[in-house]
Amino acid sequence: MPKKQQLALGLALMIVLMPKTVSAMHIMEGFLPPIWAISWGALCIPFIIMGLFSIKEIVRENPSVKLILAMAGGFSFVLSALKIPSVTGSCSHPTGVGFGAILFGPTVMSVIGLIVLLFQAMLLAHGGLTTLGANTFSMAVIGPVAAFATYKLVKKANGPQWLAVFLAAMLGDLLTYVVTSIQLALAFPAEVGGFGASLAKFMGIFAVTQIPLAISEGILTVLIFNALSAHAKDELESLNILTKEA
């Protein structure tokens, strides 16, 4: 497909998806006023488009990496299906996007996160189409970007591989729900105390619940990363994740 057609396809999808939003342990269907729903959706579009192109690139340059890409998607499917009890007495689920963000960069996971969110919004009434934009922004944009940046920072500071993977996945998960709280607080500032009071309330619901889950996601990501680097060294080297041993 020529570049122009690719771009047209991306733009068409963007327009189709733009006025909608998602919610799950994300934001619930219909619970964001339209103006917010549309704005968050629009913010995601550059990431989705760049993600689509880099997926294409990855698949073309190194076909055997395709399977690892599918596994990154699978990981996100599994983790975001697991609703786990937390210390606050409510349940939430991890996101699983950190793993793929470390391997392929953040925008690839924007696309995969969007697919997961669509699946849950359409079949599970979890999240929603009108909140798809906001939830994509938190789980598929901020989450992977945070994970990717954390991974690079820890590696740059010569931190061990497992620590970089753990912190990346954990912070990516946690920040997703911090952003969810911010989104809700922006849309629903409290009458007394405004944005700050609402933020504290939603953080108590989403972010605190998420802390033990984020630790779990960090650990599970380290496990799958280790398994993969034991058996698919060549592919990870070609993704510049593992440096070649001399």
Partner: protein
């Protein structure tokens, strides 16, 4: 000699992995004891309540186009989602592991 060292290393890895899995399980189980009387509903349900408290006049302006007919069907779909993901991961790990074994055999 060398194979002994390698075997010990593999054993250590298995132990570390088991420990890590135990931690994950504990993180999910401990809350059940800490918050004994809690309902363990979804965090999204709590957020709905909070929104109603803050903006009592707010009406959701869109409802899900499809809602699972019951809790059972919902859990079916969640299980399906997890199964698809787990299947892909298992296939991938199996493929790479088998490939490495084959390469080793060729070298030997």
């Amino acid at each position: 000699m060398q194979t002994d060292i390698k075997k010990n290393l593999v054993k250590r890895n298995v132990n570390v992995n088991l420990l890590l899995i135990l931690i994950v399980v504990a993180l999910a189980v401990i809350p059940l004891f800490i918050a004994k009387d809690a309902e363990f509903g979804g965090a999204d349900g709590l957020a709905e309540e909070a929104i109603t408290e803050i903006a009592s006049e707010y009406e959701p302006w869109f409802s899900p186009i499809y809602e699972p007919a019951s809790g059972e069907i919902e859990s079916l779909l969640f299980a399906l989602q997890a199964a698809i993901g787990a299947g892909i991961i298992g296939y991938g790990l199996g493929y790479f592991k088998g490939r490495r074994k084959g390469q080793k055999r060729e070298l030997a």
